[in-house]
């Protein structure tokens, strides 16, 4: 059974999807990759835009795309450092066998 993701992990997953797809990522792709309901994703996206982790852009063919800001990149870097630190002390999740 997989464990429930915490808030910081969900934010990490959303930001990771956006970073991996560059500035061409659309809401449907984030929805698919982040494994969240539409409503929950909207809440997270509003918060991430409000706090300056991502910016919303208008796509050429209409619709929205998202891009990471420096703050978003910093979050991903710091999250990886903290995960790394926790793993070295055995405080994170158990490794998959």
């Amino acid at each position: 059974m997989t464990k429930k993701r915490d808030r910081l992990e969900i934010i990490h997953d959303i930001l990771l999807v956006i970073r991996e797809r560059g500035d061409r990522v659309k809401p449907t792709h984030i929805l698919y990759k982040s494994n969240l309901s539409h409503q929950r994703l909207q809440e997270y996206m509003t918060e991430l835009i409000g706090k300056g982790f991502i910016i919303e852009k208008q796509a050429k063919g209409g619709g929205k795309t998202y891009e990471l800001t420096d703050k978003g990149f910093n979050y991903l870097r710091d999250y990886a450092t903290i995960r790394n630190f926790m793993e070295s002390y055995g405080l994170g999740d158990e490794p998959a066998n």
């Binding site: 450092t81 790394n84 793993e87 070295s88 002390y89 055995g90 405080l91 158990e94 490794p95």
Partner: protein, 151 residues
């Protein structure tokens, strides 16, 4: 008491250098116990802060209320360090990285330091060996910190 300690005492207006020394020892006991209990609490992966406060109060009251404060402090520290060593070596067995090995070895050296300090009550050479083991432990933790920060 060295000149530096006397100067520090004069600056912070502590009349007797022995009081300053005692404050340092008690600060070390309290902070070290709080740190070891916090690490033990975190390895238990429970999300009940009451468990931490209960463990900390038992450890601190047990230490400070005893007749031989230092001896009980090293005894309780050793018990916590035995548990932490077991946890960190178990973690190393699951994740075979240099980082996990350094952390496990660092806590093993801290455990050795505790045992040597207890022995140093009778043999002074163990005090020096204990300090060397402690230095090795902190160097290993610093190396781990560097490896974690490195990208």
């Amino acid at each position: 008491m060295g000149k530096l300690s006397q100067d520090v005492c004069r600056i912070i207006k502590v009349q007797d250098a022995a009081v300053f020394e005692a404050l340092g020892i008690y600060a070390q006991i309290i902070f070290m116990t709080a740190g070891l209990v916090l690490l033990t609490y975190m390895t238990l992966k429970t999300e009940k802060p009451a468990v931490y406060w209960l463990m900390l109060s038992i450890a601190l009251i047990g230490t400070l209320a005893s007749r031989n404060v230092l001896y009980v402090f090293y005894l309780i520290s050793a018990l916590l360090l035995i548990f932490l060593c077991w946890h960190f070596f178990d973690n190393y067995a699951k994740r075979k990285h240099a980082k996990t090995l350094f952390v496990a070895l660092a806590f093993l050296f801290l455990l050795i330091r505790d045992i040597q300090f207890v022995l140093s009550l009778d043999y002074e050479i163990f005090y020096v060996l204990g300090r060397l083991a402690e230095l090795t432990a902190y160097v290993l933790l610093a190396i781990n910190f560097y490896l974690v920060r490195r990208r």
